[in-house]
């Protein structure tokens, strides 16, 4: 449904690049949702997978001469390979994981942009893919990206895997006792989340077709994705998508010419969310919806007044 929304928007809205960026961020916010919302790991270095994806596509197009659409597969592969390399990070908890993943992303950036490796990665001089540039095809790829990432989250919300992940998040030891393979399930979520960021990075690389390493490893990409996801509410299907669309819309309205204003806005938003609404906007809807329903039903209905009857329906 959101994917269809973007297709419709493309017909009316003149700035296609904004739409593509919004879709890329929607996928990234859902990727954060998969790893943070369902497992509790908060990767501050999430951009590492995005950059790996961008370079996966770029290098496969440049050296293997594959079409860019196939290059997207290499983008996913590159991100998954980086995630596999970083498996040991999953042994860490909470804060240590967050900081270590940030360090890992910075390290990856330093390696890829290193002048010593310019022969392979073009080092700090950036990538030029103009020969593969195709605005329409890459727009379609971005729409597919949104559809797939929404699909993954819907799957997690409804499948045994998602249930297992949420059980692990709330109490890993009890989950293990209940017969859930904690390490394996977490690993799956980690790889899924990395693959989503890799695909997003590949799509971005294809659409923009020229970029510097600093642009695809920019730590504000992780920051945006995390903020969008938290704003909408992690662990839900719609929260991160809503967060990405609303906040990226705000960013386009005020942020591009004056990034500091936007930074100030979302900085304050995070502080307020943590202090007053830890579940994000989604939780507000969840909290208010039953009350609203009860409010509408109360006239003429006796039993509704009983405690618990009008409670949340799940």
């Amino acid at each position: 449904m959101p994917a269809a929304g973007f297709v419709v928007a493309n017909a009316f809205y003149p700035n296609q690049q904004e739409l593509v960026m919004m879709m890329v961020y929607l996928a990234l916010a859902q990727g954060i949702n998969v790893i943070y919302g369902f497992t509790g790991y908060l990767p501050f270095g999430y951009v590492g997978f995005f950059g790996a994806g961008a370079y996966g596509l770029a290098l496969s197009v440049l050296y293997l001469h594959v079409p860019a659409g196939v290059g997207l597969l290499f983008a996913v592969l590159a991100a998954v390979a980086v995630a596999a390399l970083l498996f040991p990070l999953l042994r860490l908890e909470g804060v240590y994981f967050a900081i270590a993943s940030l360090a890992a992303a910075e390290a990856l950036y330093e390696v890829i942009s290193n002048p010593s490796l310019a022969a392979v990665t073009k080092g700090p001089y950036g990538i030029n893919l103009v020969s593969a540039y195709n605005a329409n095809a890459s727009f379609v790829a971005a729409v597919a990206l949104v559809a797939v990432s929404m699909g993954i989250v819907v799957y997690l919300r409804t499948s045994r895997l998602g249930l297992a992940l949420r059980a692990i998040r709330s109490d890993a030891v009890s989950a293990e006792f209940a017969g859930i393979n904690v390490v394996q399930r977490r690993t799956v979520a980690w790889l899924l989340s990395a693959a989503m960021a890799g695909a997003a990075g590949g799509t971005f690389a294809w659409y923009t077709s020229t970029f510097y390493p600093g642009a695809v490893f920019d730590s504000s990409i992780s920051i945006f994705a995390i903020v969008f996801a938290l704003f909408g509410g992690v662990g839900t299907t719609w929260g991160p998508a809503l967060g990405a669309v609303v906040l990226f819309g705000v960013y386009n309205a005020v942020g591009i010419s004056q990034p500091q204003y936007f930074q100030l806005i979302y900085g304050v938003l995070i502080v307020l969310l943590v202090l007053f609404l830890p579940g994000g906007l989604g939780s507000l809807v969840q909290r208010l919806a039953p009350r609203w329903r009860r409010l509408r039903r109360t006239p003429g209905r006796g039993p509704e007044a009983l405690p618990g009857v009008g409670g949340p329906d799940g």
Binding site: A100, S116, V274
Partner: protein, 292 residues
């Protein structure tokens, strides 16, 4: 020659790194709060030194002292404002991480308004004009003065923690807030004071960072926070004395790499952080578990 130079430079930088990271470690050790805005406070300190030097020709060393009282007041008030809500969260440590991440974004945005995004630096002449000779080789005077200024700060902090009543109360809270409260320590006030001291240390280090890390921009906070994390992870999270060890290790590692593999030096803090975090996960990471 090259090796000796790298070692001496590494030690000079190491002492400074210890000072740079100390506030972060103190706040984490005592309050279990992850101050992700640490690097941004350092950045503010750099701008303070810049303004004081170019407006009134005050030495950046004086900025360290001037900042102490306002920082303790502001930091303490901030702590008292957010602590009760953090304590109620399901996972306070993680919530503090996200909260201070938000605060760091706010500070960065305000700094960009106030000081523009252009890089600023303070002339090295602010600290002296002649290179200093150590073991027959000449070093920039800024390195030597910064290291010489960092040592007394570290000594004063350790004397405070070790010899004064308040410092001992702080260490009691660090070991166990509940037991500290049981013996009559005002945990709330000690915590607020500690947070203020941590802020003052970060801002003070900032007035030296402008010489050691090359200029100041509003966006430098993140990389300084990671650098500080590398220092305190190597030395032991929540262990103030360990910060000195961590600083020296990082200083030596960085300068040796800079001398022999200059292209790869910027990787050093990240690699060191990852290596320590992964090879000694419980020993370095969890103070609570170690004490239990």
């Amino acid at each position: 020659m090259l090796l000796e130079y790298a070692i001496v430079a590494g030690l000079l930088f190491g002492v400074f790194y210890a000072y740079l990271a100390l506030g972060l470690n103190l706040i984490f050790g005592v309050l279990r709060i992850v101050n992700l805005a640490h690097g941004d406070l350092v950045m503010l300190g750099s701008y303070l030194a810049f303004e004081l030097y170019y407006a009134w020709h005050w030495s950046p060393l004086l900025a360290i002292v001037v900042a102490v009282v306002p920082c303790i007041l502001v930091g303490g008030a901030l702590y008292l404002g957010v602590a009760p809500r953090l304590a109620r969260a399901q996972d306070p440590e993680m919530m503090s991480l996200v909260l201070f991440f938000g605060i760091s974004q706010v500070i960065e945005a305000i700094a960009a308004f106030g000081f523009t995004s252009n890089e600023r630096s303070v002339s090295a002449n602010a600290l002296g004009s002649h290179p200093v000779g150590i073991l027959g080789q000449a070093y920039p005077v800024t390195w030597v003065v910064v290291a010489a200024a960092s040592v007394p700060v570290l000594l004063i902090l350790f004397a405070y923690l070790g010899r004064t009543r308040l410092g001992r109360a702080t260490r009691a809270v660090m070991a166990s807030p509940d037991e500290a409260a049981a013996v009559g320590i005002n945990v709330r006030m000690v915590s607020a004071l500690t947070f203020g001291v941590g802020v003052a240390l970060a801002v003070g280090a900032g007035s030296l960072a402008v010489f050691m890390l090359g200029g100041v921009t509003p966006t430098e906070g993140v990389s300084i926070t990671i650098l500080s994390f590398a220092v305190i992870v190597v030395g032991g999270l929540g262990n103030p004395l360990g910060t000195v060890v961590g600083g020296l290790v990082l200083g030596l590692a960085f300068q040796l790499t800079l001398t022999f593999l200059p292209n790869w030096a910027s990787l050093v803090p990240y690699v060191l952080l990852l290596a320590v975090v992964l090879t000694r996960p419980t020993g370095v990471l969890s103070r609570a578990r170690r004490l239990a």
